[in-house]
Symmetry: C2
Subunit: 162 residues, 2 copies
DNA sequence: CGATACATTCAGTATTGATTGAACATACTT
DNA sequence: AAGTATGTTCAATCAATACTGAATGTATCG
């Protein structure tokens, strides 16, 4: 395997580790990202130099996040994994969920401080409003991107939809 | 201290922990967020039930992120900390930096796979383009928010969305 | 039905990261 | 200048998390 690709996989591992995944999950996504074909658990374990148990756990984790999907191969009993069609939209949606939590949290803060702490209250209201603003912005952004994708099917839209 | 506020601080600690800070740093920010006055390192240590060493480390960390600032109190030698004016814009700018890293990473991936893996290449190009798109969107969002703030200074601007 | 090929779960281990108390450094006060 | 108050750094400890090999399920094949 080309060293540039190895490096890419490692970098993605580090990158996603900082975003809260395990490094192995990040590497797994990287490997699937650069693979032309789906890979079995054993393939993944071998090429990632990691136990099959770990791959199993991490692959299922990625699947629950919608980043990866299992596919069948005719005449083969094994599970194969491939990157799902729009993993990055999924990733951003996950972020958006965090934004919602931020809004609720800020609102709880506003209610907790009540009326007798004007500075704190103003800060928390700003936190709430900024999160709300950005949540809406990202929502619109995802929608817009989806439309763009649909409108220019040749450029990124490969294979069949769901 | 009101239990609702305790709860808020703990929730913020968890929330920011998932975003890559230490939980103590998150609690520290929460405490400063709901405080009307700046707090000294000893105040923070006492109210967070944490060693002064840990507070020192975490406070300086938050300061370097621009989330917190030191202020002086006349006639007092101690350092006091307060939340900085626009910590959330800062937080979002930090996210934006992560987006830039995502763009560079995706581009490195595109170059690594070259021309002979069309599916992988298309995915990585989409990753790059989506990150680029969102980076620009967030940049515009921050600018817009700042303008809005400047237009209504002193007002926390609750209520209306964009 | 027994054997085989998988995938998953689990207890134990290793690794990482945060926290602590103590030592150190620095700047005031008298 | 000595003593005191304060902030920082550092080795050791502690807690959380991920990884592993072995055991356990579950379905397919002969």
């Amino acid at each position: 395997m080309k060293p540039e690709i190895q490096t890419f996989i490692e970098r993605l591992g580090l990158f996603l580790e900082r975003l809260g995944m395990s490094r192995t999950a990040g590497r797994l996504l990287g490997l699937l990202l650069v693979s032309e074909e789906p890979l079995s658990l054993d393939d993944l374990a071998r090429r990632l130099h990691v136990s099959k148990a770990s791959v199993s756990t991490n692959a299922r984790f990625c699947q629950q996040l919608g980043l990866v999907q299992r596919v069948g191969v005719p005449g083969d009993r094994r599970d194969y994994y491939e990157i799902s069609l729009n993993p990055f939209e999924h990733a951003i949606r996950t972020r958006t969920a965090a934004v919602s939590e931020g809004i609720r949290l800020a609102q709880a803060g506003v209610e907790a401080v009540g009326d007798d702490r004007p500075k704190a209250r103003a800060r928390l209201e700003e936190m709430r409003d900024l999160y709300t603003y950005f949540g809406a912005l990202m929502e619109k952004g995802i929608t817009g991107w989806g439309a763009r994708r649909g409108a220019a099917p040749g450029d990124a839209e490969r294979g069949g939809g769901p």
